[in-house]
């Protein structure tokens, strides 16, 4: 059973190494995701994104599978946040980037998020 989430995908005309850099390197992220990026890319690593318009989002990394997939949780202020997964897959013409964002909140532990919720508990316990 999967909770609903927003899923978007795009094809990049580059190989998977370049695509991975585009979705994980702070200077590359500043070209499309946020105006300012500070990022410690690892499980339990923290990040700050200043979005266009000035909104500041904090984030914490849940998991990093080098070259393939990166999952983090982000939120603004005290608001309940979202879990975001960025995944790469080889495709004809380049590499596809699929982003999945799902809202979370007090229901996360009751809802059948399964691995993600337990992953966050593990990360928070280690932080």
């Amino acid at each position: 059973m999967q909770p609903m989430s927003c899923i978007k995908e795009v094809l990049l005309p580059v190989d998977s190494d370049d695509a991975w850099e585009a979705v994980t390197a702070p200077d590359a992220l500043e070209e499309w995701l946020a105006d300012e990026v500070e990022l410690d890319l690892r499980e339990g690593g923290s990040a700050t994104f200043v979005l266009p318009g000035g909104e500041e989002r904090r984030a914490i990394g849940e998991a990093v599978h080098d070259g393939e997939r990166w999952t983090f949780w982000w939120w603004t202020g005290d608001a309940p946040g979202s879990r975001v997964t960025v995944e790469l897959a080889p495709a004809i013409g380049g590499t596809t980037v699929r982003v999945t964002e799902a809202p979370v909140g007090p229901w996360a532990s009751a809802a059948p998020l399964g691995e993600p919720a337990s992953g966050l508990r593990r990360v928070l316990a280690a932080a």
Partner: protein
């Protein structure tokens, strides 16, 4: 984003629960007994699903004597749809910028 949005998504993530909600909507209101009669699930399972749907604000209930009738309350759908629309638009913009940035790097 308000707290109930993720509850709505969680509630609607179960296909049987969606069936229960559809049936209430189709009937214009229903009791747990009526739902269990129409759907291939036990009354106990119906009650569990109704509790989750109610908790997410997707159904409201009124007591008539010993019966409780459930009806669909659409407001949380709006919040969930608003969230999906807003977040979807944000990612559309971001991924378009990502694609342009990658194309620039590919051609340089």
């Amino acid at each position: 984003m308000s707290e109930p949005v993720d509850a709505v998504f969680s509630a609607l993530g179960d296909p049987t629960r969606r069936q229960v909600l559809d049936e209430i909507g189709r009937r214009g209101g229903a009791t747990a007994t009526e739902l269990a009669a129409d759907l291939p699930i036990t009354r106990q399972a119906v009650a569990k699903h109704l509790a989750i749907l109610s908790g997410a604000g997707l159904v409201g209930s009124t007591r008539h004597g010993r019966e409780t009738r459930y009806r669909v309350t659409p407001a949380p759908f709006g919040e969930a749809i608003d969230w999906m629309t807003r977040v979807g638009a944000e990612w559309d913009e971001r991924l378009a910028r990502l694609q342009r940035a990658a194309a620039r790097r590919a051609s340089s």
